[in-house]
């Protein structure tokens, strides 16, 4: 028994044409929900790139007092490296600190010129394996005795440490909110698309109830009867997904270069593999919505 694929495609296309207003509604809602998925994926991608670049800059600086014993500094350094939260420790001498300062302040020469003796302390720059653990690590350092011996301000250990905890926290809070809003919107649009597909398939079933009755009568198998309707839902979703992908590409082409121009210090570029991933996700999400929506309609309206 050869199943005729051409038959299913022909039937689905006929249904689509017969009910094109409803089908268009389904396509548009799927398109919008997938577009939102796409845009939030791109936004999420850009934000996480930004967060990563900021995170790279998050390190703990331990300021050392002038004349701290070298062996004590080395001991602290060794202790830090033994900690699993620490990725690297970098010693910055007073001279290096001054060099850096001069470089950063190159624009305001009067400040640089007025420096007679070096006011800057030497420091240890601690890079962490996970930037979110920065607070935890700072606490550990403050409790270390060697640290208290060598730090710049033994009377106030807090002042001898510098880290960008607040920036990181704020960024994480921001991305979390964005993510939640995105998920809620996408869920709502997905529900609307399901309802639309459900309705188009219901109309298609109604328009074809005579054929369906005869198919059942002469013994067409259940899947043979269902397949064109499932396929119709999937075709609608695929069209929606294709439009969404094209729109995301257009947005990327139109907006990202300007964004990159406006924010030159942030990495807002999207790699090709991320775009491929995006396309795959959208197509899969579309097919899933199509199958669930039409499957639901079939369960409710098509008694086989």
């Amino acid at each position: 028994m050869g199943i005729n694929v051409g038959y299913f495609v022909k039937e689905s296309v006929t249904n689509f044409r017969r009910n094109w207003v409803m089908s268009l509604g389904a396509v548009i809602t799927i398109y919008l929900s997938l577009l939102l998925v796409g845009v939030s994926m791109v936004t999420g991608y850009v934000i996480s790139e930004v967060v990563r670049s900021v995170e790279d800059k998050v390190s703990i600086q331990i300021f050392l007092k002038d004349g701290a014993a070298t062996e004590d500094v080395e001991e602290l350094q060794a202790w830090l490296l033994r900690d699993e939260l620490v990725e690297a420790v970098n010693y910055v001498s007073k001279e290096e600190a001054l060099e850096r300062f001069k470089e950063e302040m190159a624009g305001s020469s009067e400040i640089v010129d007025n420096i007679r003796e070096n006011p800057l302390p030497a420091s240890l720059d601690v890079t962490l394996t996970d930037p979110r653990q920065v607070e935890e690590m700072a606490e550990r350092i403050k409790a270390n005795e060697t640290f208290l011996k060598v730090c710049d301000r033994p009377d106030d250990p807090e002042e001898s440490l510098k880290y960008g905890q607040q920036i990181v926290n704020r960024l994480f809070a921001f991305t979390r909110v964005i993510r939640i809003i995105g998920v809620v919107f996408i869920a709502m649009l997905a529900v609307v698309s399901l309802i639309f597909i459900n309705n188009t398939i219901r109309l298609a079933i109604y328009a074809r109830r005579k054929e369906i009755g005869i198919m059942r009568l002469v013994g067409a198998s259940n899947w043979f009867i269902r397949a064109p309707f499932l396929l119709e839902g999937v075709i609608q979703s695929l069209i929606g997904a294709a439009l969404a992908i094209l729109t995301v590409l257009a947005i990327q082409a139109a907006i990202l270069p300007r964004l990159a121009e406006a924010l030159p210090f942030l990495p807002v570029d999207i790699t090709g593999s991320a775009m491929v991933q995006l396309g795959v996700v959208l197509v899969f999400a579309g097919v899933l919505i199509g199958l669930i929506g039409s499957g639901f309609a079939l369960r409710r309206y098509l008694k086989v």
């Binding site: 050869g2 199943i3 005729n4 005579k210 013994g219």
Partner: protein, 228 residues
Amino acid sequence: MISMRGVEKYYTPDAPALADVNVEIEAGEFVFLVGHSGSGKSTFIRLLQRELLPTRGQIVVAGQDIVRLKNWKVPYLRRNIGCVFQDFKLLPNKTAYENVAFALEVIGRSKHVIRTQVPEVLRLVGLEDKIGSYPDELSGGEQQRVSIARAFVNRPPILLADEPTGNLDPATSLGIMSLFNRINKTGTTVLVATHDREMVDSMRKRVIALEGGHIIRDQHRGVYGYGD
């Protein structure tokens, strides 16, 4: 070929549509099912098609216990049962040929099979000239012939007909009945539910009479037999 034992069907709990039905129909028999409206004829037919499940009892059709039959196997049961109805159930946008071919298409028959069997069965029902006509270009009798051709094109061992002549005049009805007779002669078991007294009396086949959901008479070479 058809066996019903202790079959009962209740739509509402107080009044049975069918009760205590015990029937054996052998392969190759021609049986009339007669009775007033509401006597249970249609329920009888729909139980055999497994459109309905009985409230109680056992039904065996073409060797299969259709009460226990799994849902996904029902289509395969129906390929063994041709069905003809009072309202023909033809698709208006398809020609006579396409209507018959549709029945083979949707059970996955090859184009070759369709091209040979459809003209043959249309010749059998006497419509070789009307192959390209749409249902609204055909008379009632011709439309019913198309629907019989569709029911028979797959050569099922059983043919069920529910009031097949209900919409037709007596002369046309006679032609339809003789067509059933010819189909029966090929070895097909034929069960016809009907009101048509003249028809039943003239054919002298087995008659099962229903009243209020009970079989009140089961008679070989019988007549319609109600005094109304």
